[in-house]
Structure formats: structure tokens, C-alpha cells
Subunit: 372 residues, 5 copies
């Protein structure tokens, strides 16, 4: 059973602390930044990363990448290229974010949500532009957590805002650079679809890794159950819950996106439907894994219960056999002056025989009861 | 484990009593005041606070604050200023409330709901005016409770009614005084939005505090579980349930508010959608915390179960080893006159060896069974 | 813990018997009366109360009350007064009910439902008249039960049918007699609203009484838990379930009533919306109490589980300490002729010291394990 | 407690076997007959009852009953009478069923469903005719099971198909013969309503019998709980689940039937609404009984848990008192040559006093802990 | 009880490994193949089966089967026959799949889904063609798993793609060859219906086999419960969950198919409704079996709990009787020089009588408590 008294808390506390870090990063325990400020105020978090802005302009034939330090640099790009993708890494520079907001006519409320990274997935149309928030998945030694990716889609541009450098869009960037797939020939709306697609696809390896770890744990629970496994299963259940919480509004957002017929042309529609499908599969897999995790926990508890019953049975058998025997020995250990059996020549053997018979009788009784 | 027999009820009873106070303040155990009165009757609670009326008139450029003792004072304000916000603290003065109702043409049923502070969050259009009820959150040493805030929105005025002085709107008042944000330039509908926004934002610090306390408790449950923690977790679960109960109708009300296109102009619409979003995030966070609290309770129970199994195992091992040994000692403690072993020169050592072998055999058996 | 072996069934059986009586009165275990009869047949229950018919005619200025023995008496009243409210107490007189049905052109199916008092709350339009069934709440020493109140609303009359004399409408009657509120000046539809309102308001004192008893029980469970409390909590949970079962269709019915725009004029609409609100609050409170009851039961079971673990721990500690000590005593109680220790001058003290050391070692072990 | 080790399986196995028979009869474990056949093929079950066809023609004034051996006999009846009800008992004669199908222009898929008696309740319009499937309830010593009743409603005829002779429609037939109720004066659609009504009414006595048995069991569980009751409650829960499973699609079907405004004239509409109502009440009652059954099972388990705690407590008290006493006796039973107490004149009494004091101390300790 | 300590993991591990194989085959733990590729890319799995393409052309009078190695071969068939059914077994040949996609104008996204065999059931219209995915059920020694069947329906053709040779459509092929049923006379849309029908029908034998095995297990759990059964029931519950997960989107897809009125003519509509019905019955049966499986697991756990209580009771009775007896024996085994009882002539008999009386008293006590 391996439930050591002293060392298990250490192992398990580590597990739990990791889970806590992941939970916090998933932004759920943060206060929204814009409490007590007028709606539409940009508030920058204390620990925000410094801001870097890069522009990625492309057309069917060529593409150009440039680091932006002044918003004015974007004007030339905007007039030269069919689609410009501006990516903002790090949200510490409120002035730059405000400047971008003015340049691309982003609604103040959308701009406020860009820096307040505790949003749920959503899709909101604001006049010419559409504001999309999707949670980008991360998985490290602490478990699953999400980073907010805000996407502003305009007629000829896409602006993405993320809290930290490093994302799951590099493959998409390579595709644009090398001109693979439809993206170079398509418009800004298609680019926003491609970004959402890349984000959703990034969930699958994480969920699959959880599935595989759960199957390893199943094997381990069956071979040598230990409390450590129980807590690890529980931690994974927590991760899956967070994935589910991230993916449920994502599903609603992806359903809402299909309705935006002003933004997406009919050719892009099947691709959006495909996005929907992916989120549904993701949720399906998470549900199956949650079922598996619950089943494992239940299996662990069943094993403990069965063992408790078994332990209790062993104790009962032992006690029931030896208590009468010890009693007989105790009787003939009494010091009364007149105890006829003590003087019998075969007294000792008689006592031993009495004990043996008692023991046999009890064993037979347990046999009949099906306890042996 | 620390489950002391006598003193734990005291600690826990205190916890529970506090929870009860919070529950009661949340107005759920009260009888509605207007039972057995004709609909539309204003009934004042016995323990209602004395009424103070203040008016806050403002326009794009200036603002004016005044304490109102006579409803007639409001006429001048109403004609001079674009927006007048009348705030009523304390609901003891039925005459004043009735006068305000007549002055602002508030429907009798709405006026009745103003004093009967057991309403759920709701939005009801009555002709020109709209009646909104939102629960204002409070959190003190007793846990979470809510105070009813009734808002009447008219073309150029907003009247708010609350049971006690002290609310979460001071920051908004400062904003009006200092002319920060859009509110001074906007109409009465926008003011009502800003009030709702401030109320909903006031939930977040409370929920975040609960989250943080739960994480502390998780740490404590893992280090040294005690029954006290169990009851504190349970109390927090109760608080979260009350928050959820308050926020669910709030969500419905905020969804309903968007439909009121007669009241809110298109520019305010995105702000209302933002309100919706905030309530959704609030509910999300409460759900995550409820999950965490349930998980902690389950973890506590699992720990107790594992310990019970462990205790039972230790008992069984001890009993199973010492009962046969004591039996052997008992046998050679019998007083039969003829017991050959007793006279053997090495009899004592033989008996000790027999005991040692028995003990070793049993230990080996438990080893093989994986119990040691 | 107080789980007495013999006397507890008696107390608890009484509780359960009372619960059964309440359950039966709530009409759920009855067969519908009109099985195996053509639809629309009026079947009178064996134990139906004798029928008394009273008429209550009123207008803005005056009102008149009269006992009706012949349906013809109603013709004069109907032509003299704007609204006539005919109340039927007791459903034994099928002829009278049939006569009323003809007089007011009540649909045969509605008339059938009047005497078959096992209906759920519902609202059904039949041409000119509307048929409403609401369950009137009762609460006595047996717990919560409901009595069916059938309301037929016509253009200028309201007919109410109830199984027993005594209802929650006396306050409304007083209001009509004294001309308080809107009811005297309003039409028949408003009267039917006022009746429904009075019925729904009658639920609140019952639910509040349950809430208060639950809080007393919470206090008691914490001070001195006993099985009796467990069963009383369970009984209350049963009552709340019945209230919920009664109120859920009531909510649907009250939602349906708002749709009847042919019956209710726009001025009455806000009042109906208010009814809806009341039912929602009722269900809210019942939900909170159900949560509290479940929490109390869970708390009770947790306490039992914690005590079981504690008992088991005490047993293990005692057995683990005394079994080795008794074994040592047993060894030196053996009667071997050659036992060197027995002849040592300090042999006895050596044995006692050995025992003390063993005991101290075990206590230290338990201390380190955190069991003491 | 009465949990005998050997004989309880026999009693319980019988209960379970009966439950299995009922489950099977409810047609849920059968393969659909028409697997691997082209859609619309009539497949006859191996164990189908031989087919008997009877016709029941009626008009407002008279009626005529006749056994049909040749479909041609129906032509005369069809032209002479306003409504003809053809009832088919037993589904072994595929040729006859096919002939009826052609005579009444029944869609091949509907005809296929007639012989495949594993359908859920449904209502399907096929051009001029409507196809209705309802499960007829049966209750015998094995528990609840259902028989499929297929109803084909045409402009002037109703054809019913059932697997076995014997149904719940005899009362309806009597009503037609004697001209009671509306049915003789109404059309074929009304007849189909009357049949559905009779089927749904047949559920009520069964559900009521279950309710009553559950109340008996509640009494028994409280007086002398035994495992047998547990299994009987569980069997009833199984029956109720089957009733629910049968009634849920029935509710949907009855809701769908109201939509068929081509089939049912406005006068019949209130009757259909009444059907809906009956199914809702049925489901209500089943829900209440399921709650009661679950509560009884929970109560049983609680009782077992409380007793386990009590047993454990008794054991702990006994062991904790006698182990130290036996240890003291063991100490003074040691055979050391030098044991001062043994030679004290009052040594024996001193030892007895020591034991008594120890015992008293322990009893006092348990008293203070509240265990006695 | 049969919970052997060492050998049970082996048996159960085998069960669990089989379950894992089935789970994996059901494609849920796979990563989607097309991660990190542009949308619409055909990616072939490493372990894909080699591709074989067969064409099945038919008209009302004749049919022709041919193996296709070059897509050009299909042109002649397409012009000669009213309906051509192209079946692709094995998905390793990306070039062939791409060629078929061009020949039949299949949308790139649909073609991508063909090779990525982790799709949920779905129905998607793409211009002239409709893309359907249904999971084909398989059941072998590992339990239930599904294989993806992709169906492309065009005006005069149906293309089906499956991962492995061997399917549940042979009966349908025989029907076409022999001209049984409607399929030879109908169009491509009807053929796609017939394929879906065959797939759904293939679920029934599997579900029925699970039902029957569960009933065997119920019998076994009642006769001689063993942990092995518990794990087998759990495995079946896992299978049923997978069936449910496969069938739920299938139900949605089959509901969606009815909406495609451009594809299916009114005559085929009733057949599609029938499909819906079959899926609903399937889900019904799975629900009932899941209930049964859960009930069996609960029954097993109840049995263990009852036995634990019984064991505990036996232990308590034995200990409570023998501890006082042994104590008495211990008292008279003390070696005090002055113990009056020891010298009494009938001392020994007095001691035995004392013991007998104590034992009788305790037995009587337990009798009265109802423990014997």
C-alpha cells in the first residue's frame, strides 16, 4: 500500500505547489487590473514584459518582416502590402499600445482588454474591426496554463497582442515566409483564422501528453498503488479542468465567429466550421480523460477499501483463534490448590488436545463461512 | 490528525455561527415584508436605517452635490442639469420614498421592491423608467453577504436606494467630481451602467480573497490536516454558493439589459456587453474555487480513509505477531504436574527460540503480502 | 455520539410516519380518480368534504357576500355586479359542481380536473374562460403538504374550488371587504392574479420556518450530534423536495400566464411579472435550504467517520502498547525449571524496566508518527 | 442487522432473476429484428404469438364487432361505418400484416416497426396516415415490463397491433359498446386519442403499487433492517427506471401529437393537452419514488455505518479496559524469586485495588470523552 | 470474498491492458495528423494500410464491380451507370486519394479529414457534394473500438474511405448484387443512407453482447463476488462510454442529415427519420446498461461494506467475551502468597463458574442488543 507516514507530504506538497503555480499563471486568481478605473482605461500590470512590436507584411508573391519602434513606420507598410500582421510581445509599454490603438482604430474597451490578461475567449465585432481573445496553451513542469492572445482583425491588417515572447505561431510564420498553403494569397480574415487554428492545434499535444501519462499511471496504480499516484492523478484532473474551462468559451467564440459574415467570405466558412470541429474534438478528448482520471481515483479508493476489509478479516481470524486458546492456557495457569486436571498423568496432553480441537473447530467454522 | 474530542466544537461552532450571520444578512432567511398586504404597498422593515437623501447633479463641465430634505428641492436641479443622481441611504422613511416615487413616476410595484430588500437581481422596464436591482457585495468577519441596491433610471435622472450608508460607489463619485472617464459627458443610462459596473467590480476582490485563503488552506491541509480546516473550507464553500446565487440572476439581468435598446444608445452597447463579460468571469472564478474547495474536502476525507486503513494494518500486524507469542508463553505457564518441556535443561531457550521463529515466520508472511 | 441501540427506532419511526402522512396528503400517492372513465367525467372522492358554495360580489364601491344553495341565485349577482367570486369548499356534491360548470360554461375536462385533486399547477385557456390550478401550501405537525386550488377565470367572474374549508385567502377577502388595494376597482382577471399572489405568498412562512429549524439543527449537530437529528434533517429535505415539486410547475404556469394577453390587460402585466419573481425567490430559498440540509447530513457523516478513525487509533495504540508488555509478563510467568532471570536478585526490577522501556519506545514511535 | 452469511444470496438471487426477466420482456436486451435486411422488410420474431384480427366498427348509434380472417371483409365495414377499429393480436402472420398494410396504405417503414417490437414511443406522420407507437405497461411477479402497441390512424380507421392478446383497452371497448362518453360520436383521430389515454392511465396503478410497497419497505427498514430489503428497494428502483425510460419518449410523442393539426380537430386539442398532463404527472410521481428509494438505500447505508462506528467503539472500550488489567495480573503471575509485593500480607488486595483503580480511571476517561 | 493478495493484479492488469488497446484504437489518444500543416493538407499515417480502390456501379437492372488502379477508369463507369459507389480500403496512397478528390471535386478540407481518422461523426455540405463521417463499430477481445468511415455523396456517385479492409457493409453489397430492396432502383443519396443504416445497425449486436455479459456478471457477483468481476464490469462501463461518445455526435449528424433537403428527396425522408430513431434506441440501450453496470459496482461495494461490518461485529463479540475470561484466569494465576480463593476447596470450580456466568452475561447482553 505504501502510505508512508512522514515522507509522503513532501512529495505531494511539491505536486500541489506546482499545480498552484500553473493555476495562478492561468490568470484565474488575479484581480482584473481595471478595477476602480473608468471603463476603457489601459492599465499595465506591474510585472508585464517589455514591449516589442514586429510587423509581418505579405502578399501573394513576397513578404517582409520588420521590427517597429514607431507607429508611423506602419503607414508605409499598410499602403504597400495587402495584409500586415503586427505582433506585440509584452504589454508593459502603455504608450505604444495606445498608439497602435489609434492607428488601427481599436475600440477603447478592446484596448483595455488587451492589457487586462484575465479575459475569457470571446469574439466581439466593433464596427470595421473584430476583436478576438483566445487563450494560448502552455504546459511546463507546473502543469497546464494559458496565456492570453488578443487578436484585432481589420480590413487589411491583423494585430496580435501577447504577454510574453514565445508562442505557438512560428509554424504559421514559416508557412507565410515560404508561401506554403493558402495564407499568402488570402486576406486578413483568413490570417486571423490561421492564427486561431494554430492556437487550437497547440492544445492537442498537451492533451495527448496528459492521456499518455494517465495510461502510465493506470499501469502503476494496478502494479503498486501509492498515495503519490493519487495526488498526481488529481493534479492532472486539475489541469484538465483548466483546459476545459479555457476551451468551453473558446467553443462559444468559434461558434460566434461563423456568424460574422461581414468579416469572413464564403470560401473561408468551411475553414471556420473546421475550427469548431477541432474544439469539439478537444473537449471530447478532455472529457474522456476526465472520466479516466475519475475512474482511476475510484479504483484506488476501491483497492483501499478492499484491503481494509481484508485487513479486518485477518485480524478477526487471528483474534478469534488465539483468544480462546490463550484463555485455556490461562485457566490451567491458575494457582488453585485443587485443580484435578493438573494432576492427571496425561493432563498436559489433554490440554494441548483441547486447544488443537478448539483451533480446528474455529478454522472449520471460518471455512464454512467462506472466510478462508 | 488532531481531532480533539472536546475543544473542536467550540472553534467550529464559532465558524458556523459566523456563517449563519452572513447567510442571514444575505437576506435569504427573511420573510418578504409585503406578505399579506395589497401589491404595491410600501412596507418598512423594523430595523431599517434612517433615510438620508443626497443629490448629485452633473454636466460635462461642472457638478453639484446637495443633501435633500424635501423632494421639491429636486425640481430646480432637474431643470438645471443634464443628469441628476439621487441616492437614498437607509429605507426607514416611507413618506420620503413615496414622495420620490411620485416625483420620478416610479411604478408602485418597483417602489414596493425598493423597501423589500429580499429581491433577486432583475431589470424591469416600466414605461419611461427602468427598474434595476443588483446585490452589492460585502465581506466581513462573518463571510460574504449582499445588500440590495435598487436603481431607477429615467430620461434625465437616476435614483439609487440602499439599505445602509457605505457602498462601493465612492470611486465612481470621485470620477464624476474630477471629471475622469466618459461619465460626466454621458447621459443617465450611462450612469446606471457605471453604477452596475462598480457593483460587479466589487465582487472581484472578495472572490480573489477567497481564492487566496483556499490556497493557504490547501497548504495547511497538506502539512497538518485538522478538522478545523475542514469546517473553514466548508464555510468558504457556503460563501461561494451565496456569491453564485447572487451572480446567476445578475447575469440574466445583465443579459436582459442589453435588450433594452430604447434606454441605451448604440455607443453604450459595447460597455453593456463588457458588463456581461465581467459577470461571466466572476462566475468562472467562483466555479474554479468551488471545484478547489470540493477537491480539498475530498482530499481531506481521502487522507482520513488512508490513515484508517493504515491504523487498521498496524493493529493487525501487532495482534497477529503477539497473540501467538503470548499463547506460547501461556502454554508454558500452565501448572500441569507432568509437562516434559519444563524439565528440559534447555527448555527455556527452546521456548524462546520457538517464539522467535513464530515471530520471524509471521514477519516474513507480512513481508511477502506487501504489508511491511 | 448517542446512537442508542433500542430506543432510537421509536423516535425516528414517528418522524418517518409523520413524513408519510404529509407525503400522502400532498396527493402524490393517490391514484387519479378518473382512471377508466370517459374523459370529462366528474368523479367524486370517497372522503370528499361536503360542498359549501359562497359568492362574493363586488364593485368599486360596495361588496356583497352570500351563501349559494342554488345556481340560479348567481344570475342576479352576475348581472348586478362587475365581478363575482364564487368559492366552492369541499368537492362532494357532484351535481352542484356540474351545475356551476354549466352556468359558467366550464369545459368538461377542466371540470373533471376540479374534482381530481392530483393535478400539477397549470394554466389552460378554454375559449372565453381560463383554467388555473395552483397548489395551496399547508404545514402542520406532519410537515409540508398541498391542497389543490382550481381557479376558473371568466370575463366577469372567478370560480375557485378547494377540497377543504380554510385557506390562505382570508386576508384577500378582508382587503375586498374593506376596499383596500386595487382589487375592488379591478376586473376578474386582476382578482385571479390576487388569488395566485396570496397562494404563493403563503409558501414563504413555511419555507422560512424550515430555514429556521435547519439553523437550530445545525447548532444541535455541532453541540451534540445524535441520529435523531439526522432523521429530522432528512425529513425536512423531504418537505423541501415536495415544495420544490409543487413550485416548479407553478413557475411554468406563472410564466404561461403572462402569455395570456387576451385575459390580462397591460396594466396587470407588471403584477404578473411580480408573481414570477416571487416563485423564483421561493425556489431560490428552497435551493439554499436543500444545500444546507445536504451539508448538514454530510457534516454528520464526516463527524462519524472522523470518530471512527479516532476510535480505531485509540484501539491500535492501546493494543500496540499492552500486547508486548503482556507478552513479557507471560514469558516470565512460564514454569521452566531453568530460567536464569528468575533467580537474578534484581530480576523482577529488570523485567519491570524492560517493560517500561518497551512502553516508552512505543510511545516515542507513536509520537514521531504524529498519532499522539 | 441480519446479514446471514450463507442464505441471503438465495433470496436475493431470486429477486435479481425476476428483475432480469422483467428487463428482458421490456425488450431492451433484444436485437432489433430487422438487422441486415433491406429497410421496410417485415421480419417476424421466432416466438411471436399467432395472429388474430378483430374489427370493431361503430357510429353514433350502433356498433359491430367481427373477427377478420380475410382483409376483403374490411371493405364492406369501411364503407358502412364512420369509424373502423381493427385490432391485431399476435404478430406471427406476416402475410396478414402485409395485407393489412396494403389495404390501409401503411408505409413500409411503419409496417416494419409493427413487427419489430423494440421501438421507443413515437408519432410519425406518413401522408394521410399517422403512425403512433406507445409502450403498454404490464406488471407481474417479475416487476414492470412493457409491450409495444402500434397504432395506425387513418381518415376513417384505426389499426392497432400488439404482440399478445390481453391489453388495457377493455374498458374503452365497453365504453364504445355501451355508447358511454364521446367516443361513439367522434372520429378516428379521437379514437386514437382514447387508446393512448387508456394506455397512459394503465401506468398509474403500477406506479401507485410501487409507491405503496416502498412505504412498507420504509417501515421495515426502520423496524428491522435486513439486506433483503436493500435488494428489493434496488429492484424497485430498476422498475422505476424502466417506467421512466418508457415514459420519457412517451412525453415527447404526446407533445408531438399536439402539433399534428392536420389530424386532430380543434375540439380534440384540449384532450391531447390533457394526455400531456397525465404523462407529466406520471413522471413526477416516478421521480418522487426514485427519490424515496434512493433515500431508503442511503438510510440503510447510514445505519450500517453508524453501527460499524458503534461496534468499533464497544471493542475499543472493552480492549482498553481489560488489556491493562490483564497486564497487571500478568505481572504478578511472573515467577521471579524476588518479588516484594508477593509477600506483602495485603498484596493480593493491593493488586485487586490497583486493577479496580485502573478500570475506574479508564471508565472516567471514556466518560469525559463522551463515549459512554 | 476472494480478494487474493498477489495474483489478482495479473488478471486485472490483463483486463486493463485490453481496455487500453481498445481505447487507443478508438483513436482518441492519437494526435490529429494535420497539426502544423496548412489546412487542407493530406497527411498519411505511418501505419496506414495500403490502398485498394474498388468501384461498384449499378442501375435498376444490372450491376458491375471492378477494381480501380487508375482514376481514369472511373470516367467510363460514371457515364454508363446511374450510380457508382467507389470504396477505398486503406489510406496509405496519398496520390490516389488526391486524384479521387480531384475527380469527384471533393473539398480539400473534406479530403484532409479522410486521412485524419480522428474525426467525430459529422455531416457537412460542400456545394454539390456532401461529406459524412460515421464511426464504424468493431468489437474484439480488447473491447469496443471504432474505425472512421468517410462518405462523400455526389449527384451520381458515393465514395467511401475506410482505414482497413473488412467492414459491416457486405450485407448491403449482397443486396445490391441480388437486387433486393429499394437500393438498386434509387439514387446516390439513398445509397449513402443505406450505408449509414448498415453502420448504425452494426452497433446493435455489440451493445446486446455487452448487455448479456453484464447479466452473466450480475449472476456471478451474486453467487461469488470477486474483485476480477469488479474490474470486468468497469471495463465494460468503459466500452459503453466509448459507444456513447461515438453515438452522441452520430445522433447530431443524423439529425443534421434530415435538414439537407437539397440532397435527399421527400421519399427518402422517412428513411432518414428511421435512422434517427435507431440511434436514439442505441443510446437508450447504452444508458440502461450503464445504469446496470453502475448498479452492479454499487452492489459489490455494498456487499464489501456489509461484510466489513459483519467482520467487525464478530471480532467485537469474541474479544468482548474472552478478554474478561482471560482476565479472571490471569487474576487467579497471580503468585501472591495470600490469596484466600486459591485455598478454597471448591475454588477452582468457583472460578470456572465465575467465568461461565461472565460469558453468559455477555452473551445475554449481545442478544438483547440484537447482535446475535
Amino acid at each position: 500500500m505504501n502510505v508512508p507516514g512522514a515522507e509522503f507530504p513532501k512529495l505531494i506538497k511539491n505536486l500541489m505547489r506546482q499545480a498552484r503555480v500553473a493555476r495562478r499563471r492561468s490568470a484565474r486568481a488575479h484581480l482584473p487590473l481595471n478595477l476602480n478605473t473608468p471603463p476603457g482605461t489601459i492599465v499595465v500590470a506591474q510585472d508585464a514584459h517589455p514591449t516589442t512590436v514586429t510587423a509581418f507584411a505579405f502578399g501573394p508573391d513576397r513578404c517582409e518582416e520588420r521590427t517597429i519602434t514607431d507607429v508611423a513606420q506602419l503607414d508605409a507598410l499598410g499602403s504597400d502590402w495587402p495584409v500586415v500582421w503586427v505582433n506585440v510581445d509584452g504589454l508593459a509599454d502603455a504608450a505604444m499600445i495606445r498608439a497602435l490603438g489609434q492607428r488601427f482604430e481599436i475600440h477603447p474597451l478592446a484596448l483595455e482588454d488587451v492589457t487586462d490578461t484575465t479575459q475569457r475567449a470571446k469574439v466581439e465585432p466593433y464596427g470595421e474591426t473584430t476583436f478576438i481573445v483566445v487563450p494560448m496553451p502552455h504546459d511546463d513542469e507546473h502543469g497546464f496554463w494559458t496565456e492570453q492572445l488578443a487578436i484585432v482583425v481589420g480590413p487589411r491588417f491583423v494585430v496580435t497582442f501577447q504577454g510574453q515572447p514565445g508562442d505557438c505561431l512560428d509554424e504559421l510564420r514559416d508557412r507565410i515566409r515560404q508561401g506554403r498553403g493558402r495564407v499568402r494569397r488570402a486576406n486578413a480574415a483568413y490570417l486571423s483564422y490561421a492564427i486561431c487554428d494554430a492556437v487550437i492545434d497547440a492544445y492537442f499535444p498537451i492533451v495527448t501528453a496528459i492521456s499518455e501519462r494517465l495510461e502510465q499511471l493506470e499501469e502503476m496504480v494496478l502494479s503498486r498503488p501509492s498515495a503519490r499516484q493519487l495526488y498526481e492523478i488529481r493534479r492532472m484532473r486539475g489541469s484538465m479542468l483548466r483546459i476545459r474551462r479555457a476551451a468551453m468559451p473558446l467553443r462559444d467564440a468559434m461558434s460566434a465567429i461563423i456568424m460574422l459574415d461581414r468579416v469572413f467570405d464564403p470560401d473561408t466558412r468551411p475553414y471556420l466550421r473546421d475550427l469548431n470541429d477541432h474544439v469539439a474534438r478537444l473537449l471530447d478528448q478532455v472529457e474522456m480523460d476526465r472520466y479516466l482520471a475519475n475512474d482511476l481515483i475510484e479504483m484506488y479508493m476501491t483497492t483501499i477499501n478492499i484491503r481494509l476489509g481484508e485487513t479486518s478479516k485477518v485480524l478477526t481470524i487471528i483474534a478469534t483463534i488465539f483468544m480462546p486458546l490463550s484463555f485455556i492456557a490461562g485457566v490451567y495457569g491458575m494457582n488453585f490448590h485443587e485443580m484435578p486436571e493438573l494432576t492427571w498423568p496425561w493432563g498436559y496432553w489433554y490440554a494441548l488436545a483441547l486447544m488443537a480441537l478448539t483451533a480446528l473447530g474455529l478454522v472449520a467454522y471460518f471455512w464454512r463461512k467462506g472466510w478462508l
